[in-house]
Symmetry: C2
Subunit: 356 residues, 2 copies
Amino acid sequence: MTTATLASLVNHQVRLAARPVGLPTAQNWQFTEEAVAEPADGEVLVQVLALSLDPAMRGWMNEGKSYIPPVELGAVMRAGGIGRVIASRNPAFTVGDVVSGTPGVQDYWRVSAEGAQRGGLVKIDLRLGTVTQWLNVLGMPGMTGYFGLMDVGQPKAGETVLVSGAAGAVGQTVGQLAKVKGCRVVGIAGGQAKCDWVVKELGFDACIDYKARAPEGVQRWDAVREGLKQHCPKGVDIYFDNVGGDILDAALARINRKARIVICGAISQYNNTGAMQGPKNYMSLLVNRARMEGMVVFDYADRYHLAVAEMAGYLKDGRMKSKEDVVEGGVRAFPDTLLKLFNGENFGKLVLKLAD
Amino acid sequence: MTTATLASLVNHQVRLAARPVGLPTAQNWQFTEEAVAEPADGEVLVQVLALSLDPAMRGWMNEGKSYIPPVELGAVMRAGGIGRVIASRNPAFTVGDVVSGTPGVQDYWRVSAEGAQRGGLVKIDLRLGTVTQWLNVLGMPGMTGYFGLMDVGQPKAGETVLVSGAAGAVGQTVGQLAKVKGCRVVGIAGGQAKCDWVVKELGFDACIDYKARAPEGVQRWDAVREGLKQHCPKGVDIYFDNVGGDILDAALARINRKARIVICGAISQYNNTGAMQGPKNYMSLLVNRARMEGMVVFDYADRYHLAVAEMAGYLKDGRMKSKEDVVEGGVRAFPDTLLKLFNGENFGKLVLKLAD
């Protein structure tokens, strides 16, 4: 792309204007526009094709120490995504390369020489999967599900694997992969449509709808516990937790000896304005000699390529499916689209598509 | 002992009369007396010398599934202890043998042929330690501390080990053993006397008094967190939890990457009449890729002899001390003595001595 053409491009951005209390609102965001500058020596200019919308984003908006620093006030909101190189002064990248990285919520991403060098920009192979699959099963959620299940959960054939957020990006990977590994797989999801999809399309053995209307006189969480008894008759060996809260407690009440609970997220708690709800049933860990362990996907970066190769094979031979919920509408659609994650509306990996 | 002499003995017993709500009261106990019968073929008759009083007893009084069945209503209260064989029709045991087992709260224990065979009765060697040491560092609390620290915690020299209930039976073992293994050891205990003893007598590097009066305008748990910052400047690698509740939350806020939290007990919660207090800060496990794991000492029974041999060596060479809080007064003193565990009064391993 020539310098003259670049100069005609406008970069639309979404910046963090204020830290949210509870659910993010319009007040937390600022829309900005910038000209697109020509890359300097060593730099790469990427047009963003699609962004990954993840529950973890809510945590990045908070102040304070976590596994990565918070997004600074006034900065472009952090987001993983896929893009196409449209200009490059870095010998490792040429125009037309499709790349994965953390562009943020904007149309164009100028990657510094340093950023491109340190592995912040990775070429991806569209023969292994589509752009949206590269944000899903072959992307961060897929890697999270893969290493969370395989390294932390350590499934053995014949064991029962329970996964919450079963229809979400991480949940679908975990459940399908556990089926490939010979486990009985039970999901927990909100709504009959998600549960049906997880069982009929993805091949889970069962799925418990935590939003289902409980029978007259029965509390909702008692109904979930009843569902766990019914669908996990031999107990739970691995519980992969994406949600926290009451579902974590229900799972703790059903674990087996030496069970592994993978703590991947706690979406039910992210927008709490009060205190986090800790797992009241954690002493089940003692009774059952079980463990609860946290994981952060970045720790496994040097093995992503192995997981991608394995799962691309399952996508090809049909043992795994990758479902995305693709929203269009440019970066301005970001704030509303993000909320779909927290009201339980999205179904499959949530992707904001910015360009073809 | 002759049959005629046996017939003159009276066995005083304490039985569970009703399941407690909150702290046990007089209503929960029944005192009974029985004649002492001559052992039948294969049986062993043991005079109980000393009983171990443990926080776990409170759990055994509850109904419902746990790691061992509850004490049945009307049954002699379960208790571990040390005794002397006074009559035997089992070739494996002779009069005068000192044995360890689970006699229950009574003066005389008739061990069935089956019970004596299945490892329920184990001869102990008083050259390795005294009767009360065999209930402490060389007994269940010592084994719990040993395997909880070594197998679940997996300490490495130079790491920081934090232990709550530091002056208790398990805590003193954990802390002293961690010192032997080259760790920095910080305790948490209630009261200046316990803290002083833990540091000056047992050699802990520091001990935080969670009951200390906080400075004007500072909340108690904030003071504990401040103490953790001060005494664990490099964070916490292993937290050995005997107490649960707010102290567990304070520890979670201070753990390092790949920390191990050993869940051994939750004495702060055992007499709760409401819901258990779950660890609100459990997402620190995710941020720090840490794990929280439960343990039950019985799982390590086939390795007790190795731990006893190792720790008896430390007792001999002075690297470990064993402090017991010995109460006399017969089985009738049991109900009140048990309460000392829950009001923080006891100091060292709580033992009820029944005979010399």
